[in-house]
Symmetry: C2
């Protein structure tokens, strides 16, 4: 896919063209700060990133810039509200990134970004610092050419999206007045496979738990005690195995009760999309596609809930052969949820089921590490319509609408607190390796995406709020 001549004000285009190198350097600067929210030792890096963004927002022309005081991974808030009569839009991105392990699978240092084969490589290049940066640069184009934006913007940049969005849960309702707006735009999603422009009109919800299985008080010699006590490693494996059957069907009682079935119309629409199994196999390196029996791959990621082990550990994991019965074993397990599953009810059902299938002789705890509701946006929404138009005008192809398999807990919070289902306008390539080694952002997506934003703001600014 080629980016065509951007369909934006030539003055904006000239500014963007002239600032290309400087923009890339600024993008790299942002990526170099290791703002890993899941690891407490990176709290200072998260704050440093927030301060970097706040300083940039101020410099560009935003006002009321605030880095939440007194929290380890603050929210950056900024606004510009001098377009009376025009709509007010909240832009949400996040500046925190995933951990980098397994570090040995990175070709290069995760926080030393560079361009290779038309992509920016580095942790956060796509998810989500790249997209955040693109919004700063689009706004800068307006401020530096016109001294103003065509509409009212409120920036909300979070610092713990990758670690369950805990703080913003309280921050959003506490700032309800300040956050009044006509729409919310979230840029934290990707294009369709094959790098085809797409607007995301649905997200899966999530329940993320940790299962802790405890047996003997100490690791035991597996010779002396093998055959006497339950082994927490075997017990954990049994629990996880019982969560799904061999057809990929989740076995938790009630799990599917509230799932809205795929309609024949939706099924037909998905069938018409150019989904290519081989493209997924290429991106993932998996040997075949596997999932819940009876559903197509796009149904399985967009319309069906899933359950995955995210991590597991217990006992001896070094070189060689230590002969122990581990004292305890653990797993992180998450479910992606779809309308109308309720995360609270699913957590309880999961917890109760785990307790029920746990073998005797061990104790089991299931902890809720965070959850969010699934979300669907109507494509008749005026911002969704304008976004589709801007994508088509700037990328030169008719964009798809897609339901994302991922979860953005904050999307549901915005909907609950502000009453608007956010529009999810994301620009990363589908093979970005978000959450994995060698994360990348196709540079032309980033560049053209800035033009898409410019055109979207221009279009929305022409409307009456």
């Amino acid at each position: 896919m080629q980016a065509i001549e951007p369909a934006i004000d030539p003055a904006l285009e000239a500014q963007l063209e002239a600032s290309r190198d400087q923009r890339l350097e600024s993008y790299f600067e942002l990526l170099r700060i290791p703002s890993i929210s899941a690891l407490p030792e990176h709290a200072a890096d998260c704050r440093r990133t927030a301060e970097w963004i706040a300083a940039e927002a101020s410099r560009i022309g935003f006002e009321n810039v605030e880095v939440t005081p007194g929290v380890p991974r603050p929210i950056v808030y900024a606004d510009w509200l001098h377009a009376p009569g025009a709509p007010t839009v909240i832009v949400y991105c996040h500046y925190d990134v995933q951990p980098v392990d397994p570090i040995d699978l990175w070709d290069t240092a995760p926080f030393e970004p560079f361009v290779r084969d038309g992509r920016v490589i580095g942790r956060g290049s796509a998810d989500d610092k790249g997209q955040l940066h693109l919004h700063l640069r689009a706004a800068e184009a307006f401020f530096s050419t016109r001294g103003r934006l065509p509409l009212n913007l409120k920036l909300v940049f979070e610092g713990e999206e990758e670690s369950s969005s805990v703080f913003i849960k309280d921050w959003l309702p506490a700032n309800r007045e300040r956050l009044k707006a006509d729409a919310v735009v979230i840029s934290d999603t990707s294009f369709f496979e094959g790098n085809r422009p797409a607007l995301t009109v649905g997200l899966r919800g999530m329940v993320y738990v940790q299962i802790d299985v405890t047996g003997p008080a100490l690791d035991l010699h597996s010779g002396g005690y093998g055959g006497l006590v339950e082994n927490p490693g075997n017990a954990l494996a049994r629990i996880i195995a019982e969560l799904k059957d061999r057809d990929g069907v989740v076995q938790i009682p009630g799990f599917y009760d509230d799932v809205v079935p795929v309609t024949p119309e939706q099924h037909a629409e998905l069938e018409a999309m150019p989904f290519d199994d081989n493209e997924i196999l290429r991106i993932t390196g998996a040997s075949r596609l596997v999932g819940e029996k009876g559903y197509t791959p796009l149904e399985r990621t967009g319309y069906r809930p899933t359950l995955d082990v995210n991590g597991m550990w217990g006992g001896f994991t070094g070189e060689g052969s230590k002969t122990i019965i581990p004292g305890h074993a653990h797993a992180k397990v998450s479910c992606r949820l779809v309308p109308n599953q309720d995360p609270g009810r699913i957590f309880e059902a999961l917890r109760d089921y785990v307790r029920q299938v746990a073998p005797p002789g061990v104790s089991v705890e299931v902890r809720d590490l965070g959850h969010g509701k699934p979300l669907v946006v109507g494509t008749d929404d005026f911002v969704a319509q304008a976004a589709l138009e801007a994508l088509e005008a700037t990328f030169g192809v008719k964009p798809f609408t897609q339901r994302g398999g991922g979860s953005i807990p904050v999307a549901e919070m915005f909907e609950t607190v502000l009453g608007h289902a956010p529009v999810m306008l994301g620009f990363t390539n589908a093979d970005s390796n978000a959450h994995a080694p060698n994360e990348s952002m196709v540079l032309s997506n980033y560049e053209t995406g800035i033009r898409t934003i410019c055109r979207l703001w221009e279009n929305l600014g022409g409307r009456t709020a």
Copy 2:
């Protein structure tokens, strides 16, 4: 249990009594070297330990002392062969120790031994440096009082018993001539629960494997790909769960085919032993005893094979909630084997079964990390008889005979190479925490054990070879 007045030559007893403090200091010196054979970074410590032992053996009076050149964890060989007409006995112990993780569960530093409540605390205090040291000190008592031993001894002290005894597999047959002997005594076992003196007349064999499950080439975002690819963590859990049913019965086809059934006589004998469930629960901290249905605890550890996860790992194991599908997941799994199971056949059956039950979409490798045959010693063996007599005379109670649940791969090798089933005369308390944090040796077992050895050598020395 009280150690009674030792039934040995008063001159030996006087030497032992006079050297008590110095002996404890020497024991500590040996324990302070962190000879962890499973961790390559401790190879130098293993060699240092071997050299320490070799120097001690020389100093005491042994001859032909040799530390195998050119191997990271050498064997220490030494002998004294000047008792013509008397039997020649090989003594086997090992100087390597288990890793110390989980280090945070140790009350004190593992390699800084000390005495608390009548026990020597520290890694290797029981398994097996303590027992090795006891043999050096028994021999020293003879050498320093008489200038000679009552029989011919050949010491074989290994440095990688805790990591599959790889080198000695070749060393034993290569040294067949030098190792000619009338009997082999292995001191690497423990007393019965409640610290009741016992001679071990059977050991379980072992097969130790690593199962490697590989799925996508990278960790994947569990939102975008959950529902599309098989998850190696879920797949590993399914594989492990399929290895045993809920009754603790191993499901590998043919696994029990060669198991010799427990006879009614053996069942009755085991029923008569003072086995106390509560004592095991106290030692292990487990909430209940669990094992193969239809067998008593002593049958399950002595006469029945078992299967245990020794460790498992994969994906994100840090704090918080990283939402990935891990690219791979791993487990270490071992089986304890009983007569007449063949380790090679069991490995193949296990490997084939794992491949069979592995779900599609992942690849699975099963690697053999070491195995050994089960072993049974007849109690009519002249060394076993003499050992039982020496235990009773020195500890003052009639010892039990027991089948140990553990495995000493080298025991089977001695049997194969030399044609003698070794006699397993071990002295550690059953609650020694071998392989676990806070390993300990009851000091009176160590002290009385030295007298037992002295009496055993004296008795055997009176026989004609």
